[in-house]
Subunit: 247 residues, 2 copies
């Protein structure tokens, strides 16, 4: 037990404490329903470390700013989105996770609080400021990422798959109006296509009663036109926080 019997003169004790800068990194997912692809938002780094590499959009937390505020700020700098879902993911804070730690003064450490976000593809307008590279990448094709962002991304992807099974996050990425096929395709592209029969999936969800049929039909090429549905948050409320299965 070091530091216990050695009575803490303020500096022997505080000398051991690490000083931190705190960063926020966002794993932002979206889905292109037309092409049926799961997308993640990446930005090109222009400064060292890792200049010229893709990374998750992130920033360092400013004075007086909460973690969540910082997360929203990064988002707002990169995309103009209407509704979005945001939740904290995990905090990565081991020493040596950021190259700046070694060369920078006095061993300041960099800690990353990661956030998980979902936005609607159609409503999300990327803010291109001319220089900064920013792009939706299909999850299958993400390039090598800066820092430990690969790990953070995997963590976020796992969270997405889990949440898909027991919470209505799908409706955060789908457009306001969607067909049941859209919904089903979304599930299959993210969870793999052996998770359930389409017709069973369909009747299970409809029976729950929080999908409202607008009556509007939409035709996509050949085949019978599909009804457009809307997610009814009020009708879903009773299921909130209850064990609930979408699988």
């Amino acid at each position: 037990m070091p530091g216990r019997k050695a009575k803490k003169t303020a500096d022997t004790f505080s000398a051991q404490l690490a000083d931190f800068k705190v960063g926020v990194d966002n794993v932002i997912f979206s889905v292109d329903t037309a092409q049926n692809r799961l997308l993640v938002l990446l930005v090109m780094r222009h400064e060292d470390p890792f200049a010229g590499q893709w990374s998750l959009p992130g920033t360092l937390v400013r004075k007086g700013e909460s973690l969540e505020d910082a997360a929203y700020r990064v988002l707002a700098e990169k995309i103009r989105a209407e509704n979005l879902y945001l939740e904290q993911l995990y905090t990565f804070g081991g020493p040596n996770r950021d190259p700046r730690e070694s060369k920078s003064s006095y061993g300041v450490r960099y800690l990353a609080v990661s956030y998980f976000a979902l936005v609607r593809f159609a409503e999300a307008e990327l803010i291109a400021d001319g220089v900064s590279g920013i792009a939706w990448y299909p999850l299958k094709q993400v390039p090598p990422l800066a820092f430990d962002h690969q790990q953070i991304l995997e963590y976020g992807y796992r969270r997405l798959r889990n949440k898909l099974e027991y919470s209505p996050v799908a409706f955060e990425v789908l457009p306001e109006l969607f067909t049941l096929s859209d919904l089903y395709q979304l599930y299959t592209t993210i969870l793999g296509d052996n998770f359930s029969d389409y017709s069973n999936f369909r009747s299970r969800l409809l029976k729950l009663g929080f999908l409202h049929d607008t009556g509007v039909k939409v035709s996509r090429g050949a085949g019978r036109p599909a009804s457009l549905y809307r997610f009814d948050a009020d009708a879903f409320a009773p299921y909130k926080d209850k064990p609930m299965v979408f699988i």
Copy 2:
């Protein structure tokens, strides 16, 4: 703010960044099977802020120390436990969550990464160093806590209830050998007693096949003696990461 270099943009930019100390706070649960109570470990604070109040055991992260290392260090300072379960909970980092922020030098902020731990009551020996108050509190009777520890505790309790339903955390708090009643009681004390019929709970768990009957009988007062069971981690392995229901 040493290391601030003369480059103008970097200077104005970095001036806005917050400087942090990072703390780790542990929500440590245990269960007294004899009295059937859910317990949480609290320590008495001896220094300001909040001197004389109970709080979650925590510490500030030292140089070269990872977050998890810090979490284990606090634990090791307070209790001598054999096996324990530890996972990261949530990170609380808003400004003004720690009174030291205001008066302390240069507006350093205090961020708390909380961890969630489970230990076996019988195997956990509290390290009493004479002065420092440290005690297991029944969850129903926790006193007002320092900082935002009340909120962290609630967060940890929610996590516990959730994990209980789909993962074998119960066996981390139960003794090595336990009766099926012990297990059932544990579930009822944490989840409330309307979650399942005892006989159904029993047959469901036994059918899964990862509870091994040692054949040893134990008698507790009146009534038929119960078999002692042991959790078989190998037999559980196939269920690992699968959707699994203990409810």
